[in-house]
């Protein structure tokens, strides 16, 4: 992630995936080194100093109560254990049920034992047998399930994903009680060993897409998978495109409804969001509450989203084009007020618009990075105080402020932020095209964007489906309007 400094510092790193040697407590200790959070506990059976096994765990990740009461206590006090003569007998007793635990595995490989310790499991190493028994006694530290902080909806479920992947899979399982639901576990990240779960339904998910997703994730060779960017880059067909091709959501219901539509879901351990592929254009205009509202209201809101997307994309460029090249298109009363507002402003309209768009981006970025309480202050200072002062100082014209404000507000109507970000980039390009060639430039820019989106594919699915490549079918089905769903109706109804 932040690898750039390595080039300058010329620090040599060795890869830590080459764990060689037989499974023994000494080798485990050597591999893990002298890290202070590693707990190593020698358990002497019947107080015999020559008869011992070693327990490994990571402080903070293992639940010490479970380990003490259900793993160590039987080893110290159970009569059968005390009668055991050697490690083999003890190993058989442990695996046969002296230590009863639901999730218990036997490993014979040093690397697997080390991986288990790093994942927060408790490992009992039997040196003479070169075997280990792994118990899942993890302490589920982390946030509890909360409401989605960034995707709030008035209606519908209020459960959001958390950082713990197992909690997330259980949330999905709770909603989709289907025998077809599958979780495919892949561990990526040479250093981070991040667990990734590919979620799908065996009966409806396209096998080609699923296989592509799995193979692309398995090919990730990065040292760390802490952020989602590596995952997205691995999955995306169009790596240099700034249009989103993966839908992410923190809402469990949205994730599940996409899985039920046959899409492939991805969960990453440590990230409180779920990823849906393939992400196509139309998906980014859908919001969970669309399906809870009356279809007429939903359709109106959906239509407004498309309208606002068009508005935010075109309005600044259109303003530049008509005020610089096609003045006769402006109604007479409006041109009078535009001229009046522009009186005394030294900059050309193009510079004004570009400057305001950049100022808007700066304000947006500044308010995102600050705590919420200060963020509001930035909006007030940036939007009201500086804006008003700039207008009064004749640095920008009020008409431009209005245009950028409308475009900015329309931008926030879009429910998916990455798409909104892409539109903001396109908006800048369209302003530049309009400033070069007026409405011709604007039309040209729009044509290029539409062409680019039309030919784009995500995991073999056209990006603009169902508007393209669907033989005209279902163009208005759950797109610009939300038609009443027949789901839940009997066939004969």
């Amino acid at each position: 992630m932040f690898n750039f400094w390595r080039i300058n510092k010329k620090v040599e790193f060795t890869k830590d995936n080459e764990i060689l040697g037989s499974l023994s407590s000494k080798n485990v200790k050597e591999v893990l080194g002298d890290s202070s959070d590693i707990i190593v506990k020698k358990v002497y059976i019947n107080n015999d100093k020559d008869f011992n096994i070693t327990a490994f765990g990571i402080d903070g990740m293992v639940d010490t109560n479970i380990v003490d009461n259900f793993i160590l206590k039987p080893l110290a006090s159970n009569e059968k254990v005390l009668r055991a003569k050697n490690e083999k007998e003890l190993f058989n007793l442990v695996t046969d049920g002296i230590i009863y635990h639901f999730d218990q595995k036997i490993v014979e490989d040093l690397s697997k034992a080390v991986d288990s310790i790093l994942k927060g499991l408790t490992v009992l190493v039997f040196d003479s047998l070169k075997k280990a028994v792994v118990f899942d006694a993890k302490k589920l530290a982390g946030r509890s399930i909360t409401t989605p902080p960034n995707e709030s909806a008035l209606l519908g479920s209020q459960e959001a994903f958390v950082e713990n992947i197992r909690v997330n899979t259980s949330l999905i399982r709770k909603k989709v009680k289907s025998v077809s639901l599958r979780f495919f576990d892949i561990t990526v990240g040479i250093t981070t060993k991040t667990s990734i779960q590919v979620v799908y339904l065996t009966n409806i998910t396209d096998k080609d897409i699923l296989n592509k997703v799995i193979s692309r994730i398995e090919k990730i060779k990065s040292e760390d998978v802490i952020s989602s960017n590596i995952l997205k880059n691995a999955i995306n067909d169009n790596k240099y495109s700034f249009f989103p091709q993966v839908l992410f959501t923190e809402r469990v219901d949205k994730f599940c409804s996409n899985i039920l539509d046959g899409k492939v879901g991805i969960l990453v351990d440590g990230l409180p969001v779920g990823y849906i592929v393939p992400g196509v254009f139309n998906m980014f205009f859908q919001a969970p509450e669309d399906y809870d509202e009356n279809y007429f209201i939903s359709s109106f809101i959906r239509f407004m989203r498309y309208f606002c997307a068009t508005l935010t994309l075109i309005l600044p460029g259109f303003y530049v084009a008509i005020t610089t090249f096609h003045h006769e298109m402006i109604p007479a009363s409006l041109i009078a007020s535009i001229i009046e507002s522009k009186e005394g402003v030294p900059f050309p309209t193009t510079l004004e618009v570009l400057g305001m768009l950049l100022a808007f981006e700066i304000l947006l970025e500044a308010s995102l990075r600050l705590p919420k309480s200060i963020g509001a202050t930035i909006s007030i200072i940036g939007g009201l105080v500086i804006g008003d002062a700039a207008v009064n100082a004749k640095i920008i014209s009020p008409a431009v402020v209005v245009v950028i404000a409308i475009a900015g507000i329309a931008d926030f109507v879009m429910p998916y932020q990455p798409l909104s970000n892409s539109f903001r980039i396109c908006r800048l390009l369209l302003v530049i095209a309009s400033s070069i060639a007026g409405l011709f430039g604007l039309s040209f820019g729009i044509m290029v964007i539409v062409y680019y989106l039309s030919q784009m594919e995500v995991l073999g699915v056209p990006y603009l489906v169902p508007f393209v490549a669907n033989e005209g079918r279902k163009v208005l089905h759950d797109t610009i309007i939300a038609v009443p769903s027949n789901k839940g109706m009997n066939d004969d109804e």
Binding site: H326, I335, K342, T349, V448, Q455
Partner: protein, 399 residues
Amino acid sequence: MNNKTEIIVFILFIFILVAWNDKIIPKRLEVSDLEPVRVIGLDNNKENILLSIVRDESTDKKEGEDGNSQEVVSISSSNFEKALRALQNYKSKQFTGGHIKYVIIGEDMAKNNFLNAIDFIVRDVELRLTSEVFIAREMSASDLMQNETESIEKISDVLNNLTKNINSFSYSKEETILDILPLLVTKNKSGLIPTLMPAGDNKYNTEWEVESSNKKESNSVLQFAGFAIFKNSKLIDYLNLTEARAANFVNNLVSNTVISIVGENENKNEVSLEIISSNTNFDFKFDGDMLTKIIVKNKNKSNIIQMVLQDEELSIDLVNKFEEKLANIIEKEIENVIKKSQELNADFLNFEEKLKIKHPYKYRKIKDNFESIFKTVPIEVVVESKIERSYDFIDFERD
């Protein structure tokens, strides 16, 4: 290069080619460098022509400065195009004709050089064919505009208001450049173009008088002054307000107007009727292929909006009498305008067009002689008026 790259390179090449081509892309001009013109006046000026515009001076004024904010700029030249170009260099800002909404043509130009004026507007790519045309009645366009600049009201706003409320009296109609083009391209074609005059001038308007505490103001606003009659692309005569309304009755352009009749009581109190709808149909009578008679049938509906009764009730008989009187007034008005049309031998009421639509085969046989036929053909006017409401507490009831 793969296909995608080739397409992108080709598209970019086209874009660059077009973007730097002045013939395709309009000239880059900041909106703040422009001064849009909304009203122009076209006049004859001895041997030359005179192009006048009204410019808003409010942008030149300092804060707190009060008073007239309009300036009429007139340029005299041998032709309009030269005048227009000269005008663009007159001030620090460039005048733009793309927003011209009203074209006022002076009487002299309308009489002697109307074709020249319209030709200039039609050929100039910047000017709009949807601009509305007015004739300055018995004065030049620049004088009319000059008169208006004494008012604090902007001439374009006044014209805007006039055209918005054109139906309040139905004394005029909206005519765009596009509407009057047939007048120029068809031989012997006649038509009507609305006229304007200063509001304080009561020469052609005896129906009302405007008074304002600001004496200057009451004399400077504009009002309709009937229609100018055009034949063969020349102004030949005018219709006053009542005649203009009658012409509108014939052409089904009356949607609302007020007509007063004399009441039936001893004091002969005036009764005002508001025409709420009017419809005129035409019946053409033939003897063989010969047009022998035209019957103009008008049916109108009205409400009583002002009436003073003395010791009498509003009975159905009284209403019938009102209806009869109203019908007679409208009949008389229409007859007068038709008479004028026949006297001038100018079919500005478009009987020829109506005949062509209703009897296309018979029209084809007489179309070459229509002008002489129209001059002598008897035209009968039949008007049927119906009063709908009296707005009395107890309304009258018909059987």
